[in-house]
């Protein structure tokens, strides 16, 4: 087990180093180069030379990469071109918002997806099954930013159930502890802030949950169908076990293994979807940061750090999912 973990961690490091090298080389070879990106096309040659020297771009590329990695290891990604703030600070300010949104979306996707998938499998070929399948197909075929606008239009313009954008009602005071607004409210006993944050969270979370929900329903359904035909389920039924016991301990426990994998893989879909969802609801997380970093003149230091961070999150989550197998499934432990 330990060997597997060590090997996977090494692979993770190799993947990240390769990715950082690719991004690094790419940025150095931008048309015009990063200096041009910083100064604009009309800068004087003297200023260009100065900045080139100051940034160390006159040194060999390997030396530059070495220095870059040295700084990255200590958590220094340079400063944002747009605002001048340290990249680490810019990102850590936006990160909790995205995590909060992604977690809420995942709770919706898993909480609804697993029961729906199970029901569809139990009613295979009947109307609940067909309806669920049709819903999932629609879910993966709809552009989620359009769904976001639609939900926003219906629930904030036509019926005023939810606030249209942002994370908190403006003017509402909240104490920032962790950056997760719902949690902050609970920690500081400002329950009105907590409720308000939750209120703002619902529509974006539903929008973001669409694709993971559809995928989880389908995987659960397929997986339950596989397990239903297993001998041990028939044995359990023949033994006269209660349906609840069969469902919980024999069917669901075994059927959930592929679902756990899917949850890990859906982290990617969540990160992609967050970029779109955050733009629709003006959420102010990593997704908004990406959009702003691109449209407001390309803010490469920020982009570069976000890309590495996203890759890190995705790879680490999937590593954790793989490792969690050992706890869920005893068979994996034996191997």
């Amino acid at each position: 087990m330990l060997r597997v973990i060590v090997r996977r961690l090494l692979q993770l490091v190799v993947t990240l180093i390769a990715l950082s090298a690719l991004i690094f080389i790419w940025l150095r070879n931008l048309p015009g180069g990063p200096v041009e990106a910083l100064l604009g096309e009309r800068a004087t040659p003297e200023r260009r030379v100065l900045l080139t020297k100051a940034l160390g771009y006159d040194q060999p590329i390997l030396v530059q990469y070495g220095k870059f990695m040295q700084r990255v290891v200590t958590g220094d990604f340079g400063n944002s071109i747009r605002t001048g703030d340290p990249v680490t600070e810019v990102i850590s300010r936006a990160f909790p918002a995205t995590i909060e949104l992604a977690l809420a979306a995942m709770i919706i996707a898993v909480g609804l997806g697993v029961p729906l998938g199970y029901l569809a499998a139990r009613w295979r070929g009947r109307w609940p099954d067909n309806l669920t399948i049709a819903g999932t197909l629609l879910g993966i075929s709809i552009p989620i930013f359009f769904l976001g606008y639609l939900l926003k239009d219906v629930f904030t313009q036509n019926i005023h159930w939810f606030p249209p954008s942002g994370r908190l009602t403006t003017g509402l005071d909240n104490t920032n502890v962790t950056g997760f607004f719902v949690l902050d409210g609970l920690l500081t006993r400002e329950f009105d802030a907590s409720a308000d944050a939750l209120w703002h969270l619902i529509l974006p979370a539903i929008t973001l949950a669409t694709i993971p929900l559809a995928v989880i329903v389908r995987i659960t359904r397929a997986s339950v169908l596989d397990v239903l035909n297993e001998d041990y389920v028939r044995t359990a039924e023949a033994k006269g076990l209660r349906h609840r016991t069969i469902r919980g301990r024999h069917i669901l426990r075994n059927a959930l293994l592929p679902v756990v994998t899917t949850i890990g893989l859906q982290t990617g879909a969540l990160l992609s979807g967050a970029v779109l969802t955050e733009k629709v609801y003006n959420w102010g997380g990593i997704g908004t940061l990406i959009t702003d970093s691109i449209s407001g003149g390309r803010d490469y230091p920020v982009l570069q750090a976000i890309i590495l961070l996203a890759a890190l999150v995705f790879v680490v989550v999937n590593l954790l999912v793989d490792l969690s197998y050992a706890f869920i499934d005893p068979r994996v432990r034996v191997r």
Binding site: T15, L30, P143, I219, I290, N318, V321
Partner: protein, 342 residues
Amino acid sequence: MSDPITQAGTPAPRPGDDKPRPGMSERSIGLLGDRKKARLDELAQASAADRGGISLVRDAMRRLKRNPVAIVGGVIVGLFVLVAIFAPLIAPHDPVQRFDELTKGLTVDTIPGASSGFPLGSDPLGRDFLSRMIYGARQTLFVGVLATLIGLALGVLIGAIAGAFGGWVDVVLMRLTDVMLALPSLLLAITLVAMASRSSQWTVIFAVAIVSVPIFARLLRGSMLAQRESDHVLAARALGVKERNIVLRHMLPNSLTAVIVQATLTFAVAILDAAALSFLGLGDPDINRAEWGLMLGVDGQRYFEVRPELAYFPALAIIVVALGFTLLGEAMREAIDPKNRR
């Protein structure tokens, strides 16, 4: 090593589906006495996809024709392609011409709706919206097909090389796909577009294509590796068939079915991703281009309050077409699944 990271966001493709079926070995080996290599090549090839005289593809086709899901998907895709091809004949107007009747009605908060001669009204620049929708089928097909083909070609190349050589070539190439898969798909596409100096239709196509490369590569490699050890490849090798021919004539054709099915599903993702890029302001900047993703992502978003139809129609078109390709792709995947053979 079968780490689940390899199958990014998409519903997991099943590379193992093309595994050689048991019961083939006696037949292939029984014919070894025959020295006519050419004929044997054919037989070895046929044997991989053959059981009881019906080929895998024909058997799959038979099942497809009976499947209502496949028919619905096929009809949608067929109609979409027809509209795309015959757009100039169907569209009542030139999609880039600005009409005085329509521009007259444009103000800050109104865009003219349906009027005689313009059944869907105007777009924000006073052009016929219906004609743009019809021509949009053509551009959308173009973007989707090209992105899918580029992704397919690169993915098949990488996957085939990895699967054919195995060993360290395989390790290096699969590490490369791992790096690509380490980034969430849309984020990878965004990165690629952002790195280009200025966006155009081609940066969008390229970015959307690259996202699908590792999926195709993994799929093909898995299927080819499974075949390396299979009986029909062993038989061909025993006969002294050149390694190159084994790869090109025995392994590759038998692995392609799964890849083609994946391509159908990729098309749906491609047009959705292209729309997302447009929405993020990273799309094609050409204001004359009528493409559904562009219409939805740019005008549809900007004028949603003024005239939501500008979003509804392209969105509906994208949903229906994406649904059509997904239905067709999934029905095909089910049809070639050996588990469903009777």
